[in-house]
Structure formats: C-alpha cells, structure tokens
Amino acid sequence: MNGPRSRKTGRTVKTGLLLVTFGFVVALVAFALSGFDQLGAIAAEQEVAADAAAASPYGPAPKLTAADYPSIAGINSRVAVWIFAQLHLWFAAFVLAVPIFVFIIEAIGMRTRDKRYDDMAYEFIKVSITAYSLTAVLGGALLFSLILFYPHLFTYLSTIFKESMIYYALLFFAESAALYIYYYGWHWLQGGFKKWVHLTLGLVLNAVGTTLMLLANSWLTFMMSPAGVDAAGVFSGDAWAAIHNFLWNPINIHRFVANIAYGGSIVGAYAAFKFLTATTKQERAHYDWMGYNANFIAICALLPLPFAGYYLAAEIYAYSQQMGITLMGGIFAWLFIIQAVLIGTLFLSANYYLWCGMGRSDGAKRYTKYIKYIAIVLVGAFLVWFTPHTLVLTNEELKALGGPYHKYLGPLGIMPAKNTAVNVMIIFTALSFMFYRRANKIATVSWVNAGNAIQVALYTAGIANILFLGIYHGYFTNTVYKVAASIPQVLTTLIVIVGSITLDSFIYRGGKQVGPLHWGRIPGRAQYALFLLAVSFTWLMGLMGYIRSGIRQHWHVVDIMRDASPDAFTPTLGYAANVVSVAAIIFMAMVIFVFWIAQVSGNKTLPAGYWKE
C-alpha cells in the first residue's frame, strides 16, 4: 500500500486521468456543438411547434392566482421545494460523478495491473452506494413537495414531459440494477474476461446515469428557455423540441464538468477524514494517496469549469438579452462577487494542498521558492475578480467617493478584467501542478535547458497575450467588443496548459526519480484544505442553483407561465445565502452519515460465546 510507485505507473495514471477526463469533456462539447449555434434551427422548430399548436389537443399554460397555491401547515412552499431540490441535486451530482471516475480508475488499474487502483475504485463506489439511496429518497421528497405545493406547475410540466418522465423512472430502475451489480459483483467479476464484463457494466452505469441527468436537465431548462410550445404555452406535441430547448446543452456541459469536480472534492473530504483518524502509517499513506487522487480529479474538472460557466452565461445572453442583463448586470450582479470569494477559495485551497503535498518528495525544495510568487499572483487575481464594478453606497459614502464608481478600482470591476484574472488564476494553478509533477523527478534528456526555456517562453507569452487581450478589449474598444477577448483568452490558456504538459512529458521521459515518494508525509492542515474544497464546492453549487433558478424571476416558465404565488418575488442575496447554508448543513449531516455507514460496513464484532459452536 505504501510501496514506491513506479514512475511509469504514476505517469500513466496522471496522463490517463487527464486525457480521459479531457476526452469526456471534448466528447460532450462535440455533442453540444451539434446544436451549438442552432438558434435559427431552434427558432424554426418553434415556428413548426406554433403551427402544430393550432390543432393541438393541449391547453395553454394556466393563469394562476395566489389561491391556486396550497398552504400546508404553515410551511413556506418555496423554501421547502428549494431545500429538497438542492439536497437532491448535491447527492445526484455526487452519485453521478463517482461512477465516472471509478470507471476511469478501474480502467487504469486494468491497464497497469496495479491492484491499488482497483481497491481505490472500489472504496470510492462504496462511499457512493449509500448516497445513491439518499438521492432517490430526496428525489421522491422533491417530487412530492412539487405536487403538493405547486400542483398546477407540476401538471403543466408533466403534460409536456410525460413520456420522458416515464423513461426517467424506467431508467432509474436500470441505473439501480447496473449500480448494484457493479458494486456487489466487484470481487466476483475479477480477472480476464470477467473483469471486462465488470468494466462494461461500469460503462452502462455511466451511460444510464448521464441520460438520467440529461432528461432532468431538460425539464429545468424548459422552464428557463421554453420550446415546443407557443406564446400561450400550448404544447405542439413535439416532445423532442421541448427537451432540446436552447439552454439544455449549455447546462448539460456545465453540470457534467461540475459534477466531476464536486464528486472529486467530496471523496477528497472522505479521504482527508480517514487520514486524520488513521492509526497506522500504512493507513495514513493509503488515505493520503486517495486524497491526492481525489484532489487531482477535482482540479482536472475545476480548470475547465469557468469556461463551461462562461459558455452557459453567454448562451443565456444569446437566448434572451433581458435575461442575460438581469443575470450579470442587474439585481444578481452582486452574487458574482460572492461567487468570486467562493472560487478564489477553491483555487487557493486546491493549490495549497498541492504545495503541502510537495513535502512527499525529497526533491521538492528545488521548487518551493517559487510557491510564494504563485500565491501572490493567485491572491492578486482573486482580488481583481472580487472587485465590484458599481458600488451601492450610503449618501455620505457616495459624496466621499464622488460617484458610484471608484476612481482606480472601478475599471477592475468590468468583465474583461475578471476574465483576465480567472485565466491567470487557471494558468498559475497549472503551474503549481507542473511543479508538483516535477518535484520528484530529474530530467535526463540532453535538451533539458532548451526545454525549460521553451516552457518559460510558453508561459510568459501566454500570460502576456491574456493580459494584452484583456486590456485592449476591455479598455480600448466599445462595450459591444468588451467580451470579445474571452474566447482567445480561453484558447491561450488551453494552449499553455496542454502545451506545457506535453512538453514536460517529453522533458521527463526516461528521467530519474529523486527518491521514493513518501505517501503520508503531509501535514494535517493540508487535509483541512480538502475539507475547505468540499464545503466551498457544496455552498457554491447551492448559490449558483439559486441564480440559475432566480433569473426566471416571477415566472415558473419564462414568458409562458407566471408565478402568482406569494413567493413570486426574488429574495435578497442574504436570504438566499441563509437558505443555502441551512441546506448545506443538512447535507453535511447526511454525508457524515454516509461516510459512517461506509465505515461501519467494514467493521466486524465477534461476540465470544454468543453463538452455538
């Protein structure tokens, strides 16, 4: 368990995980691209739907009054549905993500024939198995609360999505069957052909799980960007048009990537807790290794996540300028300052864990001198992201400042500055990771100096380009072109990351190890970085769930079905944060239960003299 890992295995694992994760993302992006720029096509679909509606047997969306919303035992309907939906989503994200990287880790174990990967994959899936039951229970609670508190909305949605809801239920049985055979058959389906059968089951499990997510996503995106209905909400009968609505794929991509990052962070928290409570050196080494891999998975998915989020926001804007402006420049604008704090926390804690982890290698001291500079850049980029554009001030403050914008900090509040900051943050996180990879290695190729020079040039040119694009488009062009820098900035970041990883793999091909990696040689405080990552991720998902739903404002289904309930108003950010916090604490309590159950299942008591001999 604590034995030295071969260099080849280590490289295979990291490269494998990276490539497969990247592959998944690319595949999903490619899938989405098939409907990427099909505004015209969707508009055409909507026209066809409108024609069909004339002869439709379906009625228009109901026009509700406050009396149409049942009041039950003084429960706040919106908060009840909100909390159940959020809890369900957190667990669903976790149980959908874990099988994805369990499948990848199992495949790597099969490829490298290193049993530790198989054992780790099994431990991951064991953690998610109880969470799976809770996901179903919470899904049921969400369904009941919707039927009870918002009967007309549920009736309207189920009229449109009745077929997909039945498929969803059937797929849920298939998901359960695949998961239970996959988990309980783990030790039975070992070796040769049986292992291939097991891996295939993992693939089926993921395919069914992802399809479930896509179906559920279509219902909620229909509420944001309805399709397949006319202006009065009369359904044309074309279920695919309703499913394939404008924001479906952007949400699919964003959730898929975010789920992986989230799943990694939760498993990382599990490993961190097991590390802190470990009683033997071997246990500490094992859970250190598990925590490292979980954090690696989280970072791999965290890096493309801002891009997926940006794409989603851009598509929301493309769907409806009004909705886009409400999202980024209206009442929700301050939420993105809170989001900046959360994402800054995620990046800093993930980096901090990597820096602490460098202590596992005796060769790390060659790189530790650079860490303080990376930390300074990360904090600087975080502060830029954190800077608001327009300040809401008291009269006295307004007078003292001379206007709603700060003279020097105001320019840092605009989107190009924030895009620049996040790209810089991502690039420096990649740099942290590169130092970590290099820490225990010595290059032996003859062109190592030239290779290092190219690496420096690549990073320097990339950062310079990102800064130039941000400054030029942000401050020397008019408003329409301000966000034009975002795509080339993202491409620059991707080129730097992929280029430097590729180049490094050549530089260190056939290189020497400084010495064995000392798994378990990491301070306890580093484990708290993993907890911070998991808690921040949980809270951030809750916050962004609020805004995704909140931008519908006083509409159940945007422009189609108005929310006439007493809770139709948009709550303040503080109120939303309180609901999210309460839900996060409930979720934490449930997760602790899940971890405890996973641990209890391995305990055995042999009561002397209890059973007949």
């Binding site: 720029d37 505004l39 015209g40 508009a43 509700l64 009054t65 406050a66 202006a231 807790f273 802190l276 409570t277 493309a318 409806s320 300028q321 009004q322 402006i325 009442i331 301050w334 300052i337 809170i338 704090v341 959360l342 809401v392 009269n395 307004l398 007078k399 001379g402 206007g403 709603p404 008019n478 408003t479 329409v480 708290y528 907890f531 911070l532 808690v535 921040s536 809270w539 404002q553 006083h554 509409w555 422009d559 929310d563 006439a564 139709a568 108003f569 948009t570 709550p571 303040t572 950010l573 503080g574 939303a576 944060a577 309180n578 999210v580 916090s581 996060a584 604490i585 934490m588 602790i592």
Partner: protein, 275 residues
C-alpha cells in the same frame, strides 16, 4: 472524536463565513416586486400626458433602456423619426409599413423587419434582431401601451406625433378578456414631493433648498432656469441633457420605471416652483 469535532467546527465556520459575508459583506438589495399593470384613465389624458406614459413605459415596463442606451447594445432612438423614413426605402427592409407610425409599431412587434447594420443577432448577418416582440414574452405591452411608446418615440425624436390616444387601456383586453387579477393592484401614489425626494434620495447628489449633495447640479433655483419639459426629461432620461461641469452617467436611470405619472408630475411641479 476530537478530529471529528474539529472537522465539524471547521466546516461550520466555513459555511458561517460564507453566509456572514453574503449577509453583511455586500449590500442587500431588495429586488423590485413582480411588475403590476396600472389602471390609467386615458379618457381625460392629454397628448403630453400620453407621451409621458410612453416615456415611462420606454424606461420601465418595456425595458427598452436596457439595450437602447449609450452603451451600444442597440441603436439609439433619438433620431428615429428621421431615419424611419429612410429605412422604409431601404432594400433590406422586409416589413409592410408605409409611414413612420406603422414602421415604429412594426419595429416593436416584429423587430426583424429591419435590423440596423451591426445590431443583428450573432450569426444571422443582421437578418434577425435580438430584440423580443414587446407584445409577448415577459414584456407584454398591450396595444394602447405600444401606441404610447410610439407617441413618445415620435415626440422625443422630433417627428410629428400622429398616433391617437386609445380609450381602453387597462380596462379590458382584446377579446373582452378581463385584465389579470394578479396584475391589477397598483401601490398607492405619493402626492407629497418631499416624500418622493426622500424616497428616491435625490438630495444625496442634488442640493435642494440648501440641503443635499454636490455630485449633481444644485436644484435650489432650478425652476427659474429650466422649463417643465426639460425637468421631466431630466428625471426620465438623465443623460438627455448634461448640465455644464457635470459628467454623464452619474444619475441612476430607471426613475420612470419607479415613478407613477402623477408622481412624476408632482415632482416636476415642485421643481418648477423652486425659484
């Protein structure tokens, strides 16, 4: 157990920090309640008042100023009366209007009939407008409201106001359907100008009778310097006229969204009386 409790306390502190920051670290903005339609007595309304209604709809319920502003999201409409005539003759024009009034109505309900170069939806080569049909969706202006907006556009761009004031706004909708019950509860209008000034914190930036800020122009004797039309315009469209020595974009827009027509007139009368 000690480790367990440490982790719990750490996690609760983290959540507490995020919640605390969201409650106390950023301003708590109370979002506006869902929009409600007002009942207006059009029968006794003059054209000037009708134009004022249009102006209010333009920057309020119509959400036109979200994009038609000086940030370049959509074309400015300050000369629309003049350019509309040219657009009718433009080969790219796909509509059916024959005069300015029809063109303006058409551009509100079928925005893609003519798309100003450079303002089309991305990827459509200016064939499709990103602007929604204002008679549908979440804006849902009714026929009379659209007419009021057109009156305002004609007036503000210097064109002749050709529309007529309809008589049925807010009473019955087309086809005899009753107005939405949920949308028919306007708040009580305020008739005291000082209450309005306090409510909208005008004195944070403007000096009024020797009290207030200096970020905006001193209004203590504004009635002697400006007429009522100027004052009304300055409230509804703060960047329309910038007083010498002051910067544009300082005064918040959207007053028209928040003020009733009667309140606007109360404010205008009050300011006009400051001499």
């Amino acid at each position: 157990m000690r480790q367990f409790l440490s982790v719990i306390v750490f996690s609760l502190l983290t959540i507490g920090f995020f919640a605390g920051y969201s409650n106390f670290g950023i301003p708590q903005i109370e979002p506006a309640p869902p929009p409600k339609e007002e009942k207006l007595d059009l029968g006794s309304m003059t054209m000037d008042q009708f134009i004022a209604v249009g102006e209010k709809l333009f920057s309020g319920k119509g959400t036109c100023t979200l994009c038609h502003n000086n940030l370049g999201r959509a074309p400015l409409l300050d000369t629309i009366g003049e350019v509309a005539q040219q657009r009718l003759k433009d080969p790219r024009y796909k509509g059916e209007a024959t005069n300015i009034e029809e063109y303006l109505i058409e551009s509100l309900v079928k925005p893609s009939a003519f798309v100003v170069a450079g303002f089309g939806k991305k990827g459509t080569n200016d064939a499709e407008s990103p602007m929604p049909d204002v008679s549908g969706g979440s804006i849902r202006l009714d026929e009379a409201e659209i007419t009021a907006v057109v009156a305002y556009l004609q007036d503000s761009s210097g064109a002749e106001v050709t529309v007529e004031i309809p008589k049925d706004l807010g009473k019955k909708k087309e086809g005899g359907e009753e107005a939405d019950v949920a949308e028919a509860e306007p708040r009580e209008a305020i008739s005291d100008p000082e209450k309005l000034i306090a409510m909208f914190t005008c004195d944070a930036c403007h000096m009024i009778n020797g009290v207030g800020g200096e970020i905006g122009p001193d209004l203590s004797k504004i009635g002697a310097l400006r007429n009522r039309d100027y004052l009304r315009r300055s409230i509804l469209d703060p960047n329309a006229d910038i007083a010498e020595g002051f910067e544009p974009d300082q005064m918040p827009e959207g007053m028209g969204e928040q003020l009733y027509v009667s309140e606007l007139e109360v404010l205008v009368s009050f300011l006009a009386g400051l001499k």
